[in-house]
């Protein structure tokens, strides 16, 4: 039934926004990190979304009798900011170079906060869609009473 696969579509949206939010939080937490396992300062990460056809748990057996296909969303890739790190003059810092400059991550907390708000709003929009569809399903079930 079409309504149940709508739930999968919204759930994929929630999962993607949650993944994005966790990357943004990671960026905020690492705004001052100068050491990473790969070496060098932390690099800002962001998620790129791509749409994807959702498969219902029942698979093709219960393939929709009705033609309109819904498309979910997934995190296609996680991109790292490749711009040059921000150099600050801190000669006392253990990671300072010979010239006294330290490479800090190029992170603008305001940018991450704004993106975080948008991820959170989109998450809420998906939750609203789920609850609207849930109401429709429970009303259909009420027909049996």
């Amino acid at each position: 039934m079409s309504l149940f696969s709508s739930l999968s579509v919204s759930a994929s949206g929630m999962a993607a926004e949650r993944a994005r939010a966790s990357l943004l939080v990671e960026n905020l937490a690492n705004a001052e990190t100068t050491r990473t396992p790969e070496g060098g300062p932390y690099r800002r990460k962001d998620a790129v979304f791509a749409s994807e056809a959702v498969t219902s748990p029942f698979g093709s057996e219960f393939a929709n009798a009705i033609g309109a296909e819904g498309t979910g969303v997934r995190v296609a890739e996680v991109i790292e900011d490749q711009s040059a790190p921000e150099r600050r003059y801190q000669p006392g810092h253990p990671d300072a170079g010979a010239d006294g400059y330290v490479a800090f991550p190029h992170i603008n907390p305001a940018e991450d906060m704004v993106d975080l708000m948008s991820a959170s709003r989109n998450y809420e929009a998906n939750v609203a869609a789920i609850s609207a569809v849930k109401d429709m399903i429970s009303h259909s079930i009420d027909l049996l009473r």
Binding site: S2, S6, L7, F49, T71, G72, A132, H139, L143
Partner: protein, 112 residues
């Protein structure tokens, strides 16, 4: 078994479910680069459904496109989300009264 009105109501509800699914897709893809809003032409699809056709989704023209090629408007989708839910409730109430009539006919129109 039920009268043609109930049959039409059923198709109407099917179509509303299909539309709600597209709205859910649009909301889920609100930040997908290059994604375009899709919707059904409700009136036309309802007529073709009553005639036994399959609904077709198409891109919605005239929406503002973002810098990343996405044109989902959350306001539009929120409105449709609520509208579809309400339309569905109306159809459900009508269908319920049809079923009620059927029950009454079965029980001979008596109070039981």
């Amino acid at each position: 078994m039920l009268n043609p009105v109930a049959g039409s109501l059923e198709r109407y509800m099917d179509l509303l479910s299909a539309r709600q699914k597209l709205v859910a897709s649009n909301i889920a893809n609100a930040e997908t680069p290059g994604y375009r809003t899709v919707d059904l032409d409700f009136e036309r699809e309802f007529r073709s459904q009553v005639a036994g056709g399959q609904p077709r989704a198409s891109e919605v023209p005239g929406l503002e496109v973002n810098h990343d090629g996405n044109n989902v408007s959350l306001d539009r989708e929120a409105r449709l989300l609520a509208e579809n839910g309400l339309r569905f409730q109306v159809a459900e109430a009508l269908l319920k009264s049809q079923l009620q009539q059927m029950r009454q006919a079965i029980s001979g129109g008596g109070s039981g």
